[in-house]
């Protein structure tokens, strides 16, 4: 659309406006376009005009505001009474589709807290009962060490407060537990029942352990570690692992079994693991080298999944989501964070709201579906790709060679796997 066409369309969309006011508004938009042309001499007039709010939507917004203003100012004045409702509805829709660029980070933080409450049932089970000595408790003078025969031991559960917990493979056929407190005696209870050993810290505060070392025998099926604020670090553990912490960080290295990790604010770092499932409220998640599937959800943390052998899924409300090199399918969701996906062997599904989406499929493409509200979308396909491309946007710009219009489809090469991209106001770009 040229500037002249835009301004004429705007003028006729504002037919019901008082003429003087209408002329003034059209003149102001003309000045806006002139200003844009002056500031962006590298861009063509039509390119600049096409990026503007469509005349209809602009007029709807304007008459919507006017309708409300009049009602406020003049109470019972009869003015377009039956029509104003329709205009109002139209204005709201235009607002919903095209005016979504506003970033209110605080609001998303609030959403994060909401998700935390609704969604992340962390079940930390840190209510360890009344503190103080109990039958079966074992005190150590600042250090406690216990050894348990591996025979008949399937599972170990450790619950601690603020100690840094290290979990390592045992070099003998025994499980070994060592806890140290720098400020005096530490207090743990040990309970063994039908193959499961529970090690439970009894004293928080002054008598809390500062360091725990847990060595696990190779025949162990399952281990569970829960802390309140202590970090958890594991290396070379093959059994199924369940780790929960409120504010501690979790670090896992070379753990080829299934890992399930939940934190509230703690960060998660996993390298060379079997399968991974992470939920966190505000922690960041970073995983590299997952032989099976990897799934991570966070309300406000950033998520990075790298080198995943199975399917990869990342979701964050206000954080960013990145998936790099994944043999299976990849799914990513974000509300305000950006999404970046590259090197995926299987199908890709991405949803974002105001965050941008980048998909690098230049090394191979097996189908993708991407939708955003106001976020921009950029996709890179292999040069020799065979794909069926379909795009649609309400008010975003389109940068696709050979593409015309806000909505359309195009067969690349011999056609084939679908690439479907939808946005409300985000720009769409595809290269190959």
């Amino acid at each position: 659309m040229t500037a002249r066409e835009y301004l004429e369309a705007l003028r006729s969309a504002l037919a019901s406006m008082e003429p003087g006011e209408r002329d003034d508004f059209v003149k102001e938009m003309e000045s806006h376009i002139d200003e844009l042309k002056e500031r962006h001499p590298e861009k063509g007039e039509e390119e600049l005009v096409d990026a503007l709010t469509p005349p209809d939507a602009l007029a709807a917004e304007l008459t919507d505001g006017k309708g409300r203003g009049d009602r406020q100012e003049a109470g019972g004045r009869e003015r377009g009474h039956d029509g104003s409702g329709a205009r109002h509805a139209r204005g709201s829709r235009a607002e919903g589709l095209s005016g979504l660029g506003v970033r209110l980070r605080d609001a998303l933080e609030t959403l994060g807290h909401k998700l935390e409450g609704l969604d992340l049932d962390l079940d930390l089970n840190l209510d360890l009962g009344p503190l103080g000595p109990k039958e079966g408790d074992r005190y150590g003078e600042g250090e406690i060490e216990k050894v348990f025969p591996a025979d008949g031991l399937d599972a170990i559960r450790l619950e601690a407060f603020s100690a840094e917990v290290r979990v390592l493979p045992s070099s003998t056929a025994e499980a070994r537990f060592v806890a140290r407190g720098e400020r005096g005696a530490v207090n743990f209870a040990f309970e063994q029942e039908s193959g499961e050993l529970a090690i439970i810290e009894r004293s928080a505060g002054r008598h809390a352990a500062d360091e725990i070392r847990l060595e696990l025998p190779g025949n162990l099926v399952r281990a569970r570690v829960v802390t309140r604020s202590g970090d958890i670090a594991l290396e070379g553990i093959a059994c199924e692992l369940e780790l929960k912490t409120a504010s501690g960080d979790v670090e896992a290295r070379s753990c080829p079994g299934a890992l399930s990790i939940e934190t509230i604010s703690g960060d998660v770092d996993a390298q060379e693991v079997g399968t991974l499932a992470v939920r966190t409220a505000s922690g960041d998640v970073s995983a590299s080298g997952v032989s099976g599937s990897a799934a991570a959800r966070s309300a406000s943390g950033d998520i990075e999944l790298e080198r995943v052998g199975g399917d990869a899924a990342g979701e964050s409300a206000s954080g960013s989501v990145g998936i790099d090199t994944c043999a299976g399918r990849a799914a990513a969701r974000a509300i305000s964070g950006d999404v970046s996906v590259s090197g995926v062997g299987g199908r890709v599904t991405v949803g974002a709201s105001s965050g941008s989406v980048e998909l690098d499929s230049s090394r191979g493409f097996s189908g993708a579906e991407i939708s955003t509200v106001s976020g921009n979308v950029y996709v890179e396909l292999p040069a020799d790709v065979d794909a069926e491309l379909a795009w649609s946007t309400v008010s975003g710009g389109i940068t696709i060679e050979g593409a015309h219009g806000k909505r359309g489809s195009l067969a690349l090469g011999a056609g084939g796997e679908g690439l479907v991209i939808k946005t409300a106001s985000g720009d769409i770009g595809v290269d190959w």
Binding site: E38, A57, L100, D119
Partner: protein, 119 residues
């Protein structure tokens, strides 16, 4: 994924509801801080501050606030270049801004107290 879908829809709805009044405050504050400004200049200043506003939202907002009496616009025609419509706060607008600012601070303080109380 269901919760995310629901959350995304709710946030968008909430955002379009909550931002209208908030943008009024931001536009008034902006004009108070720089004496006078015109549409595109305001869009850029708001974007730099982290509030991306389309012309489809800003100009109707300016037109409404002019009609309501908070803004005094004036056209200037420079010797070279095109005419520009500059906006500044009217005396009414200055009172409105002061009152809105106070109200906003009160609301933020209330939110902080509410959050603090549930911890």
């Amino acid at each position: 994924m269901d919760e995310m879908d629901a959350a995304m829809a709710l946030v968008e709805k909430w955002r379009s509801q909550s931002r209208k009044g908030f943008l009024d405050l931001c536009a008034l504050s902006l004009l108070a801080s720089r004496d006078e400004s015109y549409g595109l200049d305001m869009m850029e200043a708001l974007a730099q501050a982290g509030l991306e506003v389309s012309e489809g939202t800003l100009y109707p907002l300016l037109a409404r606030m002019t009609r309501e009496g908070s803004l005094s616009p004036s056209w200037t025609t420079p010797e070279t270049g095109h005419p520009r419509k500059y906006y500044r706060l009217s005396p009414t607008g200055q009172l409105v801004l002061a009152a809105m600012r106070e109200e906003f601070d009160r609301n933020v303080a209330a939110l902080r107290r509410i959050e603090g109380g549930t911890r």
